[in-house]
Amino acid sequence: MQEFLTTVILLLSSTLRLSVPLVLCGLAGLFSERSGVWDIGLEGKMLFAAFAAAAAAYQFDSAWVGLVFAILVAVLLSLIHGFASVTHQGNQIISGVAINFISSGLTVLLAVGWFALGGRTPQLQPEARFPTVILPFAEEMRPVPVLGAIYADLISGYNILVYVAFAAVPVTWWVFHHTRFGLRLRAVGENPAAVDTAGISVDWLRYRALLCGAILCGIAGAYLSIAQSAGFVREMSAGKGYMALAALIFAKWRPVPVLFACLLFGFLEALSIRFQAFDFGLGPALSTQIVQSLPYVLTVVLLAGFMGRAIPPKAGGIPYTKER
């Protein structure tokens, strides 16, 4: 029994840790897509932010400086996306794909150019990574049966970015439904003409949405390279940005369902790590490949909409022009 409980707790806490970048990217995508701008570039923004965080954390020996640089880089890429999509009304999908390519190339280029380690950044010392947050009385409570272990290992003991990520969900919900900014953001993604005729700038609203998303993406990237790992490795985002998008679509663009969809992805990844060499009876080689590809297959399955057709924000992907 004790062993079962331990396994479950380990699996669940793993799930929580692994879903953090997805949740953050998912919320980032929520901001921009609810405002009417498709954001395929989440992957690239997270990747580049991860690089910037690791490089800066190494350079300045501080995780917080790394976080700041991660956010700055994500903001820069979002501004490029905004410039192309909002100001110049270009194709938003192409712009997002371009950002992903640029990030893939630039991160390795800069990593090799600056650190000459074949595309990685140098290993970070513990001081340059985020500290673990131990909630009050966690150690004291551990001996308590069941609840103690849950409190000590499942609720306490993560680094601070994890708590930030999960707190971001209710905050996002509140911003969307109880602030003026949220009202206008939701409006501009459904009917930008309504916002325009009310005398509010459509473009500025969309830029602000992109910036909110950028901050979240920056945190996601920083988490990847300086919280979850000890440095940047090429292509370390491994498609998570796209999975976040699939989660977003599956959640029909609402904050709380996004959380659950991302937890599902996280759970799959936790399973694949825990049962890495597990043989399902198909031979270890095939089993490994199946487990490896599960998150990607799940993405396709979610998008195939077997759980109901998702209706996107009405003005999504359509650049706004005044009618003549």
Partner: protein, 367 residues
């Protein structure tokens, strides 16, 4: 009126692609500077490596051949309004088909007998890999960009399994098949034409690529199916009202796209490597996206863009040989910038170029 049309075409197919590359190179040059290297030195190696010798030109055109296949693949789909990133995975699976045929026939028949079934297998496997994303987009509205990217990842897993466990060369640890015999290798251009291209693997696939380009041109602009494809891309609701089936066009288009991508394997496997190995596409599908955007979906533009990217690839190899701190990822950066300028910011470039052209024409008239 006729001369104005010509100017438009010149701008669209020659000036704009060159401008895109030029600005992309400019920005990349700044990045090179930023990492403490000399961009002018890099440009020097680029040009000399790609165009400075028969061998260099041979390599350039060899790469261009692969890019033409994937560029045409992306372009065909784009005319129906479908944006696909899947050429990478489709080329990969296409290679599997080609390899299977070659492994079966290479010791038994000469290359010109193997070529046709191998090419057809490549097209079949490539098309098959495009089918599910196409079907999901057509029937369920699942976003093609994401599903094709996912299928690229899944292709990786599939091919690892196949190469390591099913068709590996026995007795070897490397994840690749045995070498093809003479029946599975197509002749290099140096063998049949009086040109000296050294060790460059430029081969007869070049002619297949040109034929494919002509095929795409005829298909899109001269056939009824092409008319329906263009209509679907321009206004799907009007096309539907005209009795053009969206599901049929989406699937047919993507199958053609997958088939074209699958052909790239002929160039790489039968023309160069002589075996199927892990991750042989190495990014050509993604370059295809840049090439299709830069070439504005037209075979002529795609040919020009393919050669330009061939220059970048071959030149890039030369750069990383002499300047080891600048890796192949430089090319990926340039690719991304080209996609950004040719795709998302194209309006910005086009309108400024056209205003310049108009200005020029007005001043000429007044003179």
């Amino acid at each position: 009126m006729a001369s104005f049309l010509n100017i438009r075409q010149i701008v669209d197919f020659a000036i704009l692609p060159l401008m895109n590359v030029a600005v992309a190179l400019l920005i990349s040059g700044l990045v090179v500077l930023f990492v403490g290297q000399n961009p002018l030195e890099a440009v020097g190696y680029l040009v000399s490596g790609a165009l400075g010798s028969g061998e260099g030109i041979g390599f350039t055109l060899y790469f261009a051949t692969s890019f033409m296949f994937t560029g045409l693949a992306v372009a065909v789909a784009s005319h129906a309004g479908l944006f696909t990133i899947g050429a990478e995975g489709q080329a990969y699976l296409g290679g599997l088909g080609i390899a299977l045929v070659c492994l079966a026939l290479d010791k038994v028949v000469p290359w010109y007998v193997t070529l046709v079934p191998a090419a057809m297998a490549g097209m079949l496997f490539g098309a098959a890999w495009a089918f599910i994303p196409a079907y999901l987009q057509a029937r369920r509205g699942s976003h093609l960009v994401i599903t094709t990217i996912m299928f690229n990842f899944i292709a990786s897993s599939v091919m690892i399994y196949v190469l390591v466990n099913l068709i590996k060369e026995p007795g070897s640890m490397a994840p690749q098949t045995r070498l093809f015999d003479a029946g599975g290798l197509v002749p290099k251009l140096g063998e049949i034409l009086p040109v000296d291209i050294g060790t460059a693997p430029l081969n007869i696939s070049l002619f297949i690529a040109i034929a494919a380009a002509v095929f795409v041109w005829v298909l899109i602009w001269k056939t009824k199916l092409g008319f329906e494809i263009r209509a679907t891309g321009a206004n799907p609701a009007a096309a539907r009202n005209a009795g053009i089936g969206y599901v049929k066009i989406t699937i047919v288009c993507m199958l053609i796209s997958g088939a074209l991508a699958g052909l790239a394997g002929v160039n790489i496997l039968m023309g160069d490597l002589g075996k199927l190995q892990l991750d042989f596409p190495a990014g050509i599908g993604l370059v295809g996206v840049a090439v299709a955007l830069m070439g504005r979906g037209h075979p002529v533009g795609i040919a020009v863009a393919s050669v330009l990217f061939g220059v970048l690839y071959q030149g890039g190899a030369e750069i990383s040989f002499w300047m080891p701190n600048i890796t192949r990822e430089l090319i990926m950066l340039i690719q991304g910038l080209v996609i950004l300028f040719a795709g998302a910011l194209s309006l910005m470039f086009r309108s400024s170029v056209y205003s310049l052209v108009d200005l020029f024409r007005f001043s000429k008239r007044e003179a």
